[in-house]
């Protein structure tokens, strides 16, 4: 029904045979293999990025389980040893009435990783299976995920500071637990998964679907 002349409201780079250098943002012809300014390899679209991103994300999701089950800190106070997982550590803080810190730690070490993994899963599902989700909303979510992901490092920094300063044998002692490595890997892998993904794929693949949706709504 739609004639080709009225369909492309906005030009995309691929219609004009143009592409952007990923490292220096120089505008190049899509026939070029290397950027003329910085010399890095150009990829018109990185289709393998979808696969890489899925692989990293699934690994991160699996690692999230040991990160939450095993203790992340082992705290000794006057001969009594506590094994705290991420969750019990936070409930312990609530018991001690340090609510603001508990909220910060809950956000950084439970909410953010789970939101990130769920968000990226939805995002990748939308590209792989062409789900009819608003692209604009997906992209806003993606920017939030990219920005907020770093903050999970908070918990690891806190562990390293306390482990270094609190070491007095039986009286007072803090050690990291086995979950620490798993948690560090979750952060690392999800960050790379978001970084590696070529987001232009979303706008290519969903184009036809989204446009037909818009047309049926308007008619």
């Amino acid at each position: 029904m739609t004639s080709p002349s009225e369909q492309p409201q906005r030009n995309q780079g691929k219609d004009l045979g143009l592409t952007l250098c990923p490292s220096c943002q120089q505008l190049m012809s899509h026939k070029a293999t290397h950027c003329s300014r910085c010399g890095s390899t150009l990829a018109f679209r990185d289709y393998s990025s979808l696969q890489k991103s899925w692989a990293l994300l699934i690994t991160a999701a699996i690692l999230l389980i040991p990160a939450n089950i095993y203790p992340i800190t082992i705290f000794t106070s006057q001969g009594q040893t506590r094994h705290d997982t991420i969750f019990t550590g936070i409930t312990h803080l609530i018991d001690l009435n340090i609510l603001p810190i508990a909220v910060i730690l809950f956000t950084a070490s439970i909410l953010v990783p789970i939101l990130k993994i769920c968000g990226l899963t939805i995002y990748l599902l939308a590209i792989s299976f062409r789900l009819p989700i608003s692209k604009k909303r997906l992209m806003v979510g993606f920017h939030v995920i990219e920005w907020i992901g770093r903050w999970s490092m908070l918990d690891l920094f806190v562990i390293s500071i306390t482990a270094a300063v609190v070491n007095m044998g039986q009286l007072l002692d803090a050690k990291p637990g086995p979950a620490a490595t798993a948690f560090a890997l979750v952060i690392l892998l999800t960050q790379i998964a978001a970084k590696v993904l070529d987001t232009r794929l979303l706008w290519d693949r969903l184009e036809s679907q989204d446009d037909t949706n818009r047309n049926t709504e308007s008619s």
Partner: protein, 212 residues
């Protein structure tokens, strides 16, 4: 909007959005205004203003604070008359000694190595642009530095470490007396100066220096 031909895009007035590939016509922007992609709201470009001398001053200040921030203790613990202190790298080493070297590398990279390399990289970029831009050897170095700038600035997590210090203080006050050392002050200053430096720094502007 009319279709643009390939010929029209040959000049520099057009750019593409790096996340959704939309063609965008560049317009002059007032300073401190950022152009967002109209379709996916990715930041595209901002007014290319950055003063080299201002950045040089900020960069040197940050480097001056960097050394005591890493050598002086960030936290002091007083417990039954004994005093324990820790610097950032001692914290990382303590975790590594327990066998958690993945955590130790993450802490060291994001709080010591990446910020240090970032500052050195910015300093050399500024010096090359100011004095040695015509020499091909230095142009090549500048290219390499600019390529890795994005990665370095992503790995730099000074702000998160800053918050972590305060979280640890609040967590430990229940058990012992905690004091913030001179290192904390230097670290806070390092964080602030680096923040301003990163606001002033524009990667795209630095790349455009190579064009002429």
């Amino acid at each position: 909007m009319k279709l643009l031909t390939e010929h029209e895009c040959a000049d520099t007035s057009v750019t593409l959005c790096r996340s959704c590939d939309l063609v965008i016509r560049k317009r002059a922007l007032p300073s401190s205004v950022r152009a967002l992609c109209p379709r996916c709201h990715t930041p595209i470009y901002d007014a290319p203003y950055c003063s080299l001398n201002g950045m040089l001053a900020l960069c040197l200040t940050a480097i001056i604070f960097f050394i005591p921030a890493n050598l002086l203790p960030v936290l002091e613990l007083h417990f039954l008359g004994s005093i324990r202190t820790t610097t950032i790298s001692e914290g990382a080493m303590a975790v590594a000694n327990q066998g958690y070297w993945v955590v130790a590398i993450a802490v060291l990279t994001s709080a010591v190595i990446a910020p240090g390399l970032l500052l050195l990289s910015v300093l050399s970029q500024i010096l090359i642009i100011k004095y040695r831009l015509q020499v091909p050897f230095f142009r090549d170095i500048l290219k390499r530095l600019l390529k890795y700038h994005g990665l370095l600035s992503q790995l730099t997590m000074l702000e998160i470490y800053m918050i972590s210090i305060f979280v640890s203080v609040f967590q430990l006050t229940d058990y012992t007396d905690i004091y913030l050392g001179m290192g904390t002050f230097c670290f806070a200053m390092l964080f602030l100066v680096t923040l301003f430096l990163q606001r002033e720094y524009h990667l795209e502007h630095m790349w455009s220096v190579l064009d002429d």
